[in-house]
């Protein structure tokens, strides 16, 4: 009972922190919406157009999740470490499980908001179509969001300072987005870049979304990508937890 209440308040706390972060709000919601409007106005969608926007949705979604998970979380965690607020929080009976759970729930809440906003805007303005396999798409999106979160937590827990978190997460965010086919297709790129691409988390996300969202395939067809994302989540999440545990008792 106490743990549940604690989880609820901790999640609320984290979610509010994300929503009150104006810069993050700009990157996480405003930019993607503006991009959809720009692309939509350029190419249109639906009966007259060539469903370009439908194709771009996957990229937009991955961009949003990366921005909210990787970048925002990394910077926020690094600054909580730096100003001692995380350390203080862990001097209470707060458990690592509740803390991590709250991160996941808050991130999923943010992702849900992002996904709904982008689809509603896309649909109302340009007639973007709903995903063909909605449940499978939701699963892929949530797992992607958690994978991004875990990367963000790992970066936030590993960087030296809050100042370093910004450029580092920014660079990682853009490289992952670029090389993973999120911003634009890079099919014509040199072979070594294509080889790199195949290992980008964002590539697994866009590939999986392509399957379930665009082509309406079942989740099983995306099992390869989804397990890679789950693996990433476990690895990065463990690194983050291990580091934070260590930092809470300064050697």
């Amino acid at each position: 009972m106490r743990t549940l209440n604690n989880l609820k308040l901790m999640t609320l706390h984290e979610f509010r922190a994300i929503m009150r972060n104006k810069i993050a709000f700009f990157f996480n919601l405003a930019i993607p919406v503006v991009l959809v409007v720009i692309f939509g106005s350029m190419w249109g969608n639906g009966e007259s157009g060539s469903d370009v926007l439908d194709f771009m949705m996957a990229g937009q979604l991955v961009y949003m999740l990366l921005s909210a998970g990787l970048m925002t979380v990394a910077i926020a965690l690094a600054s909580q470490r730096q100003n001692g607020s995380l350390r203080h929080l862990f001097t209470t009976p707060l458990s690592m499980g509740v803390w991590f759970g709250a991160q996941m729930l808050a991130n999923i809440a943010m992702a849900t908001l992002q996904i709904v906003v982008i689809f509603v805007v896309g649909h109302l303005l340009f007639g973007v179509h709903a995903p063909l396999n909605i449940p499978a798409t939701a699963v892929v999106l949530f797992i992607s969001s958690l994978a991004c979160l875990s990367m963000g937590l790992a970066i936030g827990a590993l960087v030296k300072s809050a100042e370093a978190a910004f450029p580092i997460s920014m660079i990682l965010f853009f490289s992952i987005a670029m090389f993973g086919n999120v911003m634009m297709p890079i099919d014509g790129a040199p072979p070594f870049i294509l080889a790199v691409q195949k290992w980008m988390p964002s590539y697994f996300m866009t590939e999986a979304l392509g399957k379930v969202m665009m082509r309406g395939e079942g989740l099983l067809n995306a099992a390869g990508e989804v397990s890679m994302l789950l693996g990433l989540m476990v690895v990065c999440g463990s690194v983050a937890i291990w580091r934070i545990r260590k930092q809470m008792t300064v050697a």
Binding site: R2, N5, N6, K8, L9, M10, L12, H13, R16, A17, R20, N21, Q80, N83, G84, S85, R87, H88, F90, T91, T92, P93, L94, M248, T249, V250, A251
Partner: protein, 307 residues
């Protein structure tokens, strides 16, 4: 004797070849305010954080309410409340949200509304932490430390940066904690605070406790003499001659002040008056005082600890 709540034995912390804290022993009982007094870098924060279990000692142990700080940290964390020396709050959270969040972490928390009232933060309940003034922040961090109704409180320089009025009102809060039977350990570099607020004081310097006791005992033991202070700006004085004056046990200059330690104030005063007259030294600024913690600190470290 009340129950011992904090028992630190031989706590030691090294950074490379530098020893920040060496062989720290102390015991704090229920209903007691214990002060760690020392200059910057003395090792107060390091000591406190080792006791709290958030800094790992290289040697020694600490038990809090019978739980080992490091190996039984879950038991410890339920029973302690603490303020860290550096800013340590989520800046975008509101005051009432923080109190509620922290309250949810403890088995038997205080009511956030009561704490708002007690710490005079009702009007700030909807303000974000970052918008609070220094004094309001200190009050909020103390409120957060208290929300779990801790048996033991660790306060690292809780009154630093506060104006005298705010400091005195925080003293009242801390005295209230003592009256409720909690054990309080706090660090400070304010002499007055150590003297007036703390039941027992340990004077720390260079990582070691130099002396420990009630302020009264310390003064009696280490600062037994009274002192006479004379402003001698612009007048050359012969220290050796002054040291020979009746009942004088020591002479120093501090800034522009000449300080005579004396075993007999009246005798030394008379003798100095004679010396002053013979040497044409005006006795404009002259005062006598009995020994204080400041003198104790001076006697122990050879330095002054300025507020």
């Amino acid at each position: 004797m009340a129950e011992a709540k904090i028992i630190a034995r031989n706590l030691t912390k090294r950074y490379g070849t530098y020893t920040a804290v060496e062989g720290l022993n102390l015991t704090v009982h229920a209903g007691e305010i214990f002060g760690l007094l020392g200059p910057n870098g003395a090792g107060k924060t390091t000591s406190i954080e080792m006791m709290e279990g958030i800094r790992r000692p290289d040697a020694g142990t600490c038990t809090i309410c019978g739980f080992d700080s490091i190996t039984q940290s879950a038991g410890v964390r339920e029973r302690i409340g603490l303020t860290l020396q550096a800013a340590s709050m989520p800046e975008t959270a509101r005051v009432s949200e923080l109190l509620e969040l922290y309250a949810s972490l403890y088995p038997n928390p205080a009511r956030p509304g009561d704490l708002l009232q007690q710490f005079n933060l009702v009007e700030k309940a909807r303000s974000t932490a970052k918008s609070l003034s220094g004094g309001q922040r200190q009050r909020l961090s103390l409120a957060l430390a208290l929300v779990g109704r801790p048996e033991v409180l660790f306060l690292d320089e809780p009154t630093t940066g506060l104006d005298p009025q705010a400091r005195h009102s925080l003293w009242d809060v801390i005295r209230g904690l003592k009256a409720e039977g909690r054990a309080v350990i706090m660090s400070t570099h304010y002499m007055e605070e150590a003297e007036k607020l703390c039941d027992r004081v340990a004077i720390m310097d260079h990582g070691k406790i130099l002396a420990e006791g009630t302020p009264r005992e310390l003064v009696r033991e280490f600062g037994p003499e009274a002192a006479i202070e004379i402003d001698v700006t612009g007048f050359p004085v012969n220290m050796a001659e002054i040291a020979q004056l009746s009942a004088v046990t020591g002479v120093q200059t501090e800034d522009h002040l000449l300080v005579l330690r004396t075993a007999n104030t009246a005798a030394s005063l008379m003798a100095f008056a004679g010396y002053a007259q013979a040497n044409h030294i005006p006795l404009g600024e002259l005062r006598t005082r009995s020994a204080t913690m400041e003198d104790v600190f001076m006697a122990l470290t050879g330095r002054r600890l300025r507020d």
